[in-house]
């Protein structure tokens, strides 16, 4: 028994508690039907339900699992936007994150650099070993904020991790690439973005929901960078025309082939 205790002490002494920041975005749930707002440049938000962006949820879960595995450390969660993002931050707290920071601004700008500037200003000097993002938000799908934050902080960046591990000042990650995978090693501190498949986000337990009420939520004005990129126009895909049934059996195949060649022009 004495030996076991010695080993446990040895490891916890060797590794300082890890500090992870996860940047999350509040996005509309994607299973609803979308309309374009009167402005023509944004989605009509009436009646939409909101949640943590899917990839950001995987990042929260991966961060929690890493600190649980290491047995030490804590996960901070950061989001940028109007007051309602506090709901989304509270959900991350109820999943097990230790504290939340709300970078307040009335509207989330479309320009990823404006957002990245505000996040970098908050993260700078925060003493984080690892800054995590989802690989892209499921609404604007730019996938750029994490990369820009890494650049602004001068940290190594691994984009789209499907596996992630950190220990003693360095991390390893797996990335899925066309036709295969690659294993990368990087020094800490670092910025990583998370792909799907890493971890399915847990449901917040009732105890987690209760505990979240007592966890700190810092609110600060977002120090947005200049907005040099705006959406000019959004459109919805054209409605698909109804299909046509030609008939049944081998007899209709020649007609089908003719239509595919001459009308649909797909073969």
């Amino acid at each position: 028994m004495g030996g076991t205790i010695f080993l446990v002490n040895f490891f916890t002494m060797g590794a300082a508690p890890v500090k992870i920041a996860v940047c999350i975005k509040r996005v509309p749930e994607m299973d609803g039907a979308f309309k374009i707002a009167a402005s023509g440049t944004a989605v009509d938000e009436t009646g939409l339900k909101w949640d943590i962006s899917d990839f950001d949820g995987y990042a929260v879960e991966a961060a929690l699992q890493m600190t649980e595995k290491l047995g030490a450390g804590e996960v901070h969660v950061i989001s940028l936007g109007p007051d309602v993002v506090q709901e989304t931050l509270r959900k991350a707290l109820s999943m097990g994150c230790a504290r939340a920071t709300h970078l307040k601004c009335d509207v989330v700008p479309f320009d990823p650099f404006a957002i990245a500037s505000a996040l970098a200003a908050e993260l700078q000097g925060g003493g984080y070993d690892l800054v995590m993002f989802g690989k892209m938000s499921i609404d604007s799908a730019n996938g750029a904020v994490g990369l820009m934050v890494a650049d602004l902080l001068g940290m190594p960046m691994v984009h789209g991790c499907s596996k992630l591990d950190i220990a003693a000042g360095a991390g390893t990650a797996r990335r899925e690439i066309e036709g295969g995978g690659e294993l990368v090693r990087f020094s800490l501190p670092a910025v990583v973005s998370i792909d799907e498949g890493i971890a399915r986000p847990r449901y917040p337990s009732l105890k987690g929901i209760m505990a979240a009420k007592k966890k700190p939520m810092d609110v600060k004005p977002a120090q947005l960078g200049p907005v040099r990129l705006t959406v000019q126009k959004m459109d919805l895909p054209a409605a698909r025309a109804a299909g046509r049934i030609l008939g049944e059996g081998a007899a209709v195949v020649p007609e089908l082939v003719r239509l595919l060649q001459q009308e649909a022009k797909v073969i």
Partner: protein, 405 residues
């Protein structure tokens, strides 16, 4: 319903979590467990881990420490996709655990509640007998004091978790000369009869609970609905129950279980409301995509009006349920409001599920859509924990309480 009338942000967080859990973990398996009529241990384990099997009990007792409004939200949201899962929470928490929390000694609470609240073992409540259904005063199970223990003989019918449970609160006559004042409650323990299936998921049994010789479960009922919930007979043959397992004072059993049933009825009302709302949502979805005569059938007035009626009645049901839940939370008497909520919502569940099937047409009569299961699950809500007739009796008695001598 305007959410802010009854719910605070925390309630909405609980609702969102349970709604996601129900949609992702319960809905995909509901038809399967209905078909095979087995207890869904894998989900029971997950529900225990999330705190859903001890919602209103203090953290000190292993519960989640939430209020009764949160608890009703859990039952309501689960029942929207599967009534059996909702019933498991309700029967385990209100019937199986609450009598020990409310009427138990400190030692009894510490001994049994953490095991139940964490979902490690399932609990149940033995009141109904062959000859004592609506008339619980007709209890025939006896408990005779012999030295430092009681000897129980008799049987109970239609006991939820009768097979899968290990901890039971059971009523028995201790003094036949006293009528309902001669009924007492006891805590009994037995081994889970579905042990192999339960232990695959590491729950359902605790080795520290002593199976009491002579205490067993009888045949499993093959039911119309609530098929993933385990309903059996409980049999007592010269069961020696230590006197320390007497729950509450001798002779208080009837009074105590009347209080337990009041809370239970709010739970069944929430469950019924869930079934009605689940069926309504299915009907609304179907009617808006199903086209006949070139248009979505929801746009025909004959269907649109039915949907309007369902939505209106569900809205009314929500007010009854969450108003009763709030009164219960505030410690007020809910005898009348619980009976009203249960009466209205259980009959609503039946009406709404039948309408939902009608709106689905022939498809609604098949197992490809969940509405036929919802209809089968709804019927028992008009019977269990007090029939609709008994609810009307309770309500009318309350109305006349101060008027008729």
């Amino acid at each position: 319903m305007e959410d802010s009338l009854y719910f605070e942000e925390q309630h909405l967080q609980v609702r969102e979590m349970v709604r996601n859990f129900a949609r992702e973990e319960v809905a995909p398996v509901a038809a399967h467990f209905d078909a095979i009529a087995e207890f869904p241990w894998a989900n029971i384990r997950k529900m225990g881990e999330l705190g859903l099997l001890g919602v209103p009990w203090s953290e000190e007792l292993g519960g989640a420490g939430l209020d009764l409004v949160s608890y009703m939200i859990v039952i309501h949201e689960l029942a929207k996709v599967d009534a059996s899962h909702g019933l498991t929470v309700s029967a385990h928490t209100t019937l199986g655990t609450s009598p020990i929390v409310h009427f138990g000694t400190e030692a009894q609470r510490r001994r049994y509640v953490p095991l139940l609240a964490s979902g490690r073992v399932m609990g149940g409540f033995g009141l109904t007998e062959e000859g004592a259904g609506s008339d619980a005063g007709g209890t025939r199970t006896t408990a005779v004091r012999r030295g430092d223990h009681y000897v129980l003989n008799g049987s109970k019918r239609f006991i939820t978790h009768g097979g899968v449970g290990e901890i039971f609160v059971v009523t028995a006559v201790t003094d036949p000369s006293q009528g309902t004042r001669g009924i007492s409650s006891f805590i009994l323990t037995k081994q889970n009869d579905d042990l192999a299936a339960a232990q695959e998921h590491g729950i359902g049994h605790d080795a520290s609970l002593r199976p009491m010789p002579g205490f067993s479960s009888g045949k499993k009922e093959d039911k119309l609905g609530w098929r993933a919930s385990d309903t059996r007979e409980l049999i007592f043959q010269d069961v020696e129950v230590p006197a320390e397992n007497l729950l509450g004072a001798e002779g208080q059993g009837f009074i105590n279980f009347m209080r337990t049933l009041d809370a239970g009825r709010v739970g069944i009302a929430a469950l019924s409301l869930g079934i009605a709302e689940g069926a309504f949502e299915e009907a609304l979805k179907y009617a808006s995509v199903r086209k006949q005569f070139g248009q979505a059938i929801a746009t025909f007035q004959g269907i649109g009006f039915q949907l309007a009626d369902m939505a209106t009645e569900i809205e009314a049901g929500k007010h009854l349920v969450y108003h009763a839940a709030r009164m219960l939370q505030e410690g007020k008497s809910v005898t009348k409001s619980a009976a009203m909520a249960k009466l209205f919502c259980s009959e609503l569940a039946m009406r709404a599920t039948i309408k939902a099937i009608q709106i689905h047409g022939g498809y609604g009569y098949t197992k490809e859509y969940p509405v036929e299961r919802m209809m089968r699950d709804a019927k028992i809500c008009e019977i269990g924990e007090g029939t609709s007739e008994i609810q009307r009796l309770v309500i009318s008695r309350e109305l006349l309480r101060n008027l008729v001598a």
